[in-house]
C-alpha cells in the first residue's frame, strides 16, 4: 500500500476499511467529532447510531458472535467511554473479539480533569486483552493493526484504542501495515501437546464425558468436534456458550450442564471417570462446589489459553492450542490407540446415561388454562421456526428457560451473555446479529426486567427496519433474584416485584413498531404466529408468564453438582 498524507481521524476510517469492517456501532460526541467527520465520507463502513453506548458495545458483540468477525464500537470521551464499559467487560468474560475506539480530550488537557475526561485506558485495563492511549499520530496505523490482530487471535477478546482529539486532527503519512510484530504477544503454544497421553486416558476410560465450551465456537471447530465425538462415543455436555458446538438433537448430546443443567447431564459429569474439556474453563456455574466436582474423573483439558489450564481444576493432561488444529490430531491419536490396543467397554456407561435421561428428563408442570408457562413459550417458538432462528437472550430466568428448552441445532445460533451475566443484552445483541446476518430470522428471548435495561434502542431497530422479534417473558418480577429469595431467603421478596410498567404494547406503538400481548395460553398461538410473520420492522411481544414459575433443576450456589433442587 502506498503512503498517503492524511489525518488521524481519516486513518481510523481507512484502517476500518482495510480490516473489512462493514458495521460500526456508536454515538458521536465532542472528542470523537473528527472521526465521525471522516466516517461521513466512507462508502464501505456503515455506522449504526445507537441511543446508548452500552447498546453499541453489545451490538458489536452480537455481530461478532453471529459472524465470527471482529465487532467494532465507538464512543466519545468521558461518559461515552464509560458507557461502553459494561459491554467491554461482557466481551472480555465471553471471549468475544471486539475493537472499541474512543475519542479523548486533547493531549494537552489529559490529566487536567477536563470536561468529559475519563482515564478510559486505566478503567478498562482489567477488562481488555490490551488497550492503547495513542500519543503520536504516527503510531496510529500500527496500533489499529495490532488492535484487530489481538482482538481476534488466540483467545479472542476486546481491546480499546483511545485517541485524543488533537491526535485525530494531526497529519501523518498513512500506510496500513501488513504484518504485526508484538514482542510480548505470541498466542501459545508453549507446551508440546501430550496427545498420546490424552489418547491413552480416553482408551482406558469406561465412563468418559465430553464437555464443550465457547472455545468450539471461537475456533469454528464444529466438524472437528463432531468427528471426535463420534469416534469416542461418549455422552456430550455443553456450557451455555457451548450450545450449538454439537447439534443438541445429536443422540450423544445431553445439552447444558451446571447450575441449571438437566439432571441427567449433571449426573453424567459427576459420575464420569474422564472429562474431556474442549474450549471450556470450568466456570463455577458449571462445576458447582469444586472440592466435590466429579470426584473420580481424570481431566483432559484442551484450551487455547494456557492460563485456563489447571486454574480451577487440575488437568491430568493439558493440551494447549487451537481446537481446530489440535483436536483432529487428538482424534487421530485416539483412533490409533483404539486400533492398537482396543478400549475399555463404554456400553454400560452409555446405557446408564440413557437411563438417567429417561428417568430424569427436563420437565415442567403445566398449570391450567390461566397460566402461560415460560418453558412452553420457548418450545412453541422453536417449533414454529423449526429451530432455525438465531436467538439472543437477556439475563435471568428467561435466559435459563431458553438455554434449557431451545434445542440449538446450528453453530452461532444461541447468543447470550454468559460470564458477566449482563441484563439488557438481548435487544442490543439482536440488532448486531441481524445486521451481521441480514437474511436470518433473529428472535430475542428477554425478561421484563432485562428488557427495560436497554429498551431505548428499540428506536435503533426501528430506524434500521430490522425484523427482530423480541419475546418478553413477562412475570412482573426480577425473576431470577425472586427465585433465590423464595428458595434461600425465606420468601422475603426484597425489591424484586416490578410494577406493570411500561405498557409494552403502547411502548411499541410509541416507537412505531408492532406490539403484541398474550395473557393466556389460548392467546399465545395466534400472537406468536403474527409476530413471526411480521415484516418491516421489529415486534415486541409481551407474554404474561406464570409469575412464580422457577428454573429447575437448580444446583444451589456452592453445592455439589449432583445436589439439585427440582421443585417437585
Amino acid at each position: 500500500m502506498a503512503k498517503e498524507k492524511t489525518t488521524g481521524a481519516k486513518a481510523v476510517v481507512k484502517a476500518l476499511e482495510a480490516e473489512g469492517v462493514d458495521w460500526v456501532f456508536g454515538v458521536p460526541g465532542g472528542a470523537i467529532l473528527p472521526i465521525y467527520d471522516a466516517l461521513f465520507d466512507s462508502t464501505k463502513v456503515k455506522h449504526v447510531l445507537v441511543r446508548h453506548e452500552q447498546t453499541g458495545a453489545h451490538a458489536a458483540e452480537g455481530y461478532a458472535h453471529a459472524t465470527g468477525k471482529v465487532g467494532v464500537c465507538f464512543g466519545t470521551s468521558g461518559p461515552g467511554a464509560t458507557n461502553l464499559v459494561t459491554g467491554i467487560a461482557d466481551a472480555y468474560m465471553d471471549s468475544v473479539p471486539m475493537v472499541a475506539i474512543t475519542g479523548n480530550v486533547s493531549s494537552a488537557l489529559i490529566g487536567s480533569d477536563a470536561f468529559q475526561e475519563a482515564d478510559i485506558t486505566g478503567i478498562t485495563m482489567p477488562i481488555t486483552k490490551h488497550n492503547w492511549l495513542v500519543t503520536d499520530v504516527k503510531d496510529l496505523p500500527r496500533i489499529l493493526k495490532e488492535a484487530f490482530y489481538i482482538a481476534r487471535t488466540g483467545r479472542p477478546g476486546p481491546v480499546l484504542v483511545d485517541i485524543p482529539k488533537d491526535v485525530q486532527n494531526a497529519e501523518l503519512e498513512f500506510e496500513y501495515p501488513e504484518t504485526v510484530n508484538i514482542p510480548g504477544y505470541h498466542p501459545p503454544v508453549r507446551e508440546e501437546p501430550r496427545l498420546k497421553d490424552a489418547a491413552a486416558l480416553i482408551r482406558a476410560s469406561s465412563r468418559p464425558v465430553i464437555y464443550l465450551g465457547g472455545g468450539v465456537r471461537t475456533s469454528s471447530a464444529y466438524a472437528e468436534v463432531e468427528a471426535f465425538v463420534e469416534l469416542v462415543g461418549a455422552p456430550v455436555v455443553t456450557t451455555v456458550h457451548g450450545k450449538g458446538a454439537l447439534p443438541e438433537t445429536h443422540p450423544q448430546c445431553l445439552g447444558m450442564f451446571g447450575m441449571h443443567g438437566a439432571k441427567f447431564a449433571n449426573y453424567t459429569v459427576q459420575d464420569s471417570d474422564l472429562i474431556i474439556a474442549l474450549g471450556a474453563r470450568f466456570d463455577d456455574r458449571v462445576t458447582g462446589k469444586l472440592s466435590t466436582f466429579a470426584p473420580e474423573a481424570k481431566i483432559v483439558h484442551l484450551d487455547v489459553d494456557p492460563a485456563e489450564i489447571s486454574k480451577l481444576v487440575t488437568a491430568t493432561v493439558p493440551l494447549v492450542g487451537d481446537l481446530k488444529l489440535l483436536l483432529p490430531q487428538l482424534t487421530e491419536e485416539t483412533r490409533k490407540a483404539f486400533a492398537a490396543s482396543g478400549r475399555a467397554e463404554i456400553a454400560p456407561w452409555v446405557k446408564k446415561v440413557a437411563d438417567w435421561r429417561e428417568k430424569h428428563p427436563l420437565r415442567y408442570t403445566p398449570q391450567g388454562e390461566d397460566h402461560i408457562m415460560p418453558q412452553y413459550v420457548i418450545e412453541q417458538i422453536w417449533k414454529k421456526t423449526q429451530g432455525k432462528a438465531l436467538v439472543t437472550t437477556g439475563v435471568g430466568e428467561h435466559q435459563m428457560f431458553a438455554a434449557q428448552y431451545w434445542k440449538t441445532t446450528q453453530p452461532r445460533q444461541f447468543i447470550t451473555s454468559g460470564g458477566l451475566g449482563t441484563m439488557g443484552f438481548c435487544l442490543p445483541a439482536a440488532i448486531g446479529v441481524q445486521l451481521g446476518k441480514p437474511d436470518a430470522l433473529v428472535i430475542g428471548i428477554d425478561g421484563d426486567g432485562s428488557f427495560q435495561m436497554t429498551l431505548q434502542d428499540l428506536a435503533t431497530a426501528v430506524d434500521l427496519k430490522l425484523n427482530i422479534k423480541i419475546f418478553i417473558l413477562n412475570n412482573l418480577f426480577l425473576g431470577m433474584v425472586r427465585q433465590w429469595q423464595e428458595l434461600f431467603y425465606d420468601n422475603r421478596f426484597s425489591e424484586t416485584p416490578l410494577s406493570d410498567l411500561p405498557d409494552l404494547v403502547k411502548l411499541a406503538d410509541a416507537y412505531s413498531c408492532l406490539g403484541l400481548r398474550a395473557r393466556k395460553p389460548s392467546e399465545l398461538d395466534a400472537v406468536l404466529d403474527q409476530a413471526l410473520a411480521h415484516q418491516g420492522g421489529p415486534v415486541i411481544v409481551d407474554i404474561r408468564t406464570r409469575r412464580q414459575e422457577k428454573v429447575f433443576p437448580m444446583v444451589p450456589a456452592g453445592a455439589p453438582l449432583n445436589d439439585m433442587i427440582d421443585g417437585e
Binding site: 485495563m125 514482542p183 510480548g184 492460563a307
Partner: protein
C-alpha cells in the same frame, strides 16, 4: 484428583519479567496482581541491556500451585515479553538497604564494627545519627536489621529484591537472543 479450592500453605517466589519499556506497564502488572489476589512482597523495576525493555523482579507470597497460574496470567499481558519463576537453587538475589539510626556518638565505633561484620558501610554521620548502607540477600539484611534494632532505628528504606539466575540461562525468549 486435586481441586484447587483450598490454598495450600504459602511461600515466597521470585518471579522475573522482561517487559516493554512503555507507559502504563507497571500499572497493568500491579493491577493484575491485585485483581487476582496475588500478594506482592516486593517489586522492583529498572532498565536492562536493551533500552526498549525493562526488567521487573516481583517477590510473591504464594503456594507453588498458584505461582504457575501467576506466570501464565502475567504472560498474557501484551507488554510482557517473558516471565518466569526463578529457580530458588540457582538464584542470585540482592537487596539494598539504608538504615538511619539515632544514637549518641559514643556508640558510633560499636556500630562501625557491626556494619563491617555485615559488609555494610556508614555513609552519613552526624553528632547523634548515622546512616548505614547494606546490600546482600534479604536474610542477611533482616539479620542486620535485628542487630541494629537496639540502637534506635529511625527509618529504613529497602529496595526490594533484584535477582538473576546463575549460569548462561537468560530470560529473553529465543527471538531476542
Amino acid at each position: 484428583m486435586e481441586r484447587n479450592e483450598t490454598m495450600p500453605s504459602t511461600s515466597t517466589h521470585t518471579v522475573s519479567l522482561l517487559v516493554e519499556n512503555k507507559p502504563g506497564v507497571l500499572h497493568r502488572i500491579a493491577g493484575l496482581f491485585s485483581r487476582r489476589g496475588y500478594n506482592i512482597a516486593s517489586l522492583t523495576v529498572g532498565p536492562t541491556e536493551r533500552p526498549e525493555y525493562s526488567r521487573m523482579t516481583i517477590v510473591v507470597l504464594l503456594s507453588s500451585k498458584t505461582v504457575d497460574q501467576v506466570v501464565r496470567q502475567v504472560q498474557k499481558l501484551v507488554p510482557v515479553v517473558e516471565v518466569r519463576e526463578l529457580s530458588p537453587v540457582d538464584l542470585i538475589e540482592r537487596e539494598l538497604m539504608l538504615v538511619k539510626i539515632r544514637t549518641p556518638e559514643k556508640n558510633h565505633a560499636e556500630l562501625r564494627a557491626l556494619a563491617e561484620t555485615y559488609e555494610a558501610k556508614i555513609v552519613d554521620v552526624s553528632p547523634d545519627a548515622l546512616v548505614i548502607e547494606a546490600s546482600g540477600n534479604s536474610g542477611k539484611l533482616d539479620a542486620l536489621e535485628d542487630r541494629l534494632a537496639g540502637y534506635g532505628i529511625q527509618e529504613i528504606c529497602r529496595s526490594g529484591r533484584i535477582a538473576l539466575e546463575r549460569g548462561f540461562k537468560t530470560l529473553a525468549p529465543p527471538h531476542l537472543k
